[in-house]
Symmetry: C2
Subunit: 285 residues, 2 copies
């Protein structure tokens, strides 16, 4: 892959910081600039060497950047793309790392229309229940999926640049349209988060001391930032609600089999779920 001259990351937390560290490790740019909201985070990111330099305003941050990556919480992404597009140099590629795509891509394409920049949406599918650049790691995306979005207005050259970029970072890249993305992640990411939040939400404090690995793993992501996930759920409402309806139906069939002592039905439902979960082994990192 041809090295970028300058990459700017807006929002240098777990995801943005890990992208910065991966860029440095793989020498994908001559220089990485971070755009921060708070001076304290800027200092932390510099100490972690997640970026080469940091600024507090978009305008000076994105100027001269060949690639601009918006890695903030979902709700802020469209606004920051709009602002970046205004100050970016001719030919710049703007991308993001948000967990929902239809909502972001529609707004982003509108705000880049007629400007000499290209927007291509992306969703690197890695992370953890922790937030902040202190948890960033250069190998966070190694072997992870990164979905890159193509729409009818996507610039093919910009798309190729972004595909090469994420492959160079070590991700397994898949190109798809925004609605296919939102449907898939509703099932493999947003629904599991809702289920984890609900399991954690109903447990009694006094029972927590008996929790073993099963509870620990099933609810791990319920320790995630509530605002971050409220944003994600709100911007993928339709697909999330559709997956939740199927989930509720499955769950209710299980409950009904238990309630009616229908052992055969219960085993069938559990075995069907196990067969799907066991297929994940194919995609082990």
């Amino acid at each position: 892959m041809k090295q970028f001259n300058k990459i700017t990351i807006i929002g240098v937390g777990l995801i943005g910081g890990s992208i910065g560290l991966a860029i440095k490790k793989n020498r994908l740019a001559r220089e990485v600039t971070g755009v921060f909201r708070r001076k304290s985070t800027l200092k932390k990111a510099i100490v972690r060497r997640a970026v080469d330099r940091g600024v507090l305003d978009i305008k000076s941050g994105v100027r001269d950047a060949d690639l601009i990556i918006v890695a903030t919480p979902v709700y802020k992404i469209p606004m920051l793309i709009e602002e970046s597009a205004r100050y970016a140099k001719d030919g710049a590629v703007i991308t993001d790392a948000g967990s929902t795509k239809e909502w972001i891509v529609r707004k982003a394409e509108k705000s880049c229309k007629g400007l000499p920049v290209s927007f291509v949406g992306a969703h690197p599918m890695a992370g953890s229940e922790h937030a902040g650049v202190e948890f960033a790691r250069p190998d966070l995306f190694n072997g992870a999926s990164c979905i890159i979005i193509r729409t009818k207005s996507t610039n093919p050259g910009a798309l190729n640049k972004l595909v090469s970029f994420w492959k160079a970072i070590g991700a397994r890249v898949k190109v798809m349209n925004p609605s296919a993305h939102d449907k898939s992640v509703a099932f493999v990411s947003h629904l599991p988060h809702v289920a984890a939040f609900s399991v954690a939400g109903v447990v009694n404090d006094s029972d927590l001391e008996y929790a073993a690995e099963g509870f620990r793993d099933t609810t791990r992501v319920a320790s995630s930032d509530p605002y971050l996930w409220a944003d994600i759920f709100m911007t993928n409402r339709k697909e999330l609600l559709a997956s939740l309806r199927l989930f509720e139906r499955y769950n209710r069939e299980l409950a009904s089999a238990v309630s009616k002592k229908d052992y055969k039905k219960l085993v069938t439902l559990l075995a069907k779920a196990k067969a799907k979960r066991d297929k994940l082994a194919r995609y082990e990192k």
Copy 2:
């Protein structure tokens, strides 16, 4: 703790095998005998040194044992306790490692009544989605909870022996009555399993390649043995169904907040769940 002369383990899989390895490691008995259904498992357990010797019949297995531990799938436990009690020597303590207690303890106390043996139920809360002695580890119960059951017919001397035994293995022991146990584990173990099975049950095969750590962890236990878990669910029906009703209500409130775009309500529900999950850190091993 005073060493046992002979301990017999009936059912030497992940749990029974790990108990055997822990007994050997901590020198808690002079001899450990395993009772097996299949010769092939007997051989595997001997190779793994989970037991000193193995037999294929209860009668010769439990004779002379001071402590008899039934570590089979839940459904078989009462029958095997009944059979063990018939052949056990005077003063023997019989226990189990089953995940539900009211159902087992009621039957076990009935079948031991009038015999010169004592039954004390137990539930070591550790395990994994894997089954079989090949996954057994001597440290499986290290730092794990072990709930030991006291009822009005429990022999205090036998209870004390069992408490000392599990403490010597490294478990955090808690004594409670069968219904308190069943209620707690419905929330911290059985409900998370149902949720995991339902999340895995509705995913599309073609979306699995995009699954990241969130999906992986939330659904890990859905790879567990369907028969094993059908047994557990069936023998804790009342408490499991009660926990499922609360879970469904929480889940539906979340869905309703998303559907009605009630951001404040959504954040409140997620934050409440996160606060509970974060409390688990207190009980980290």
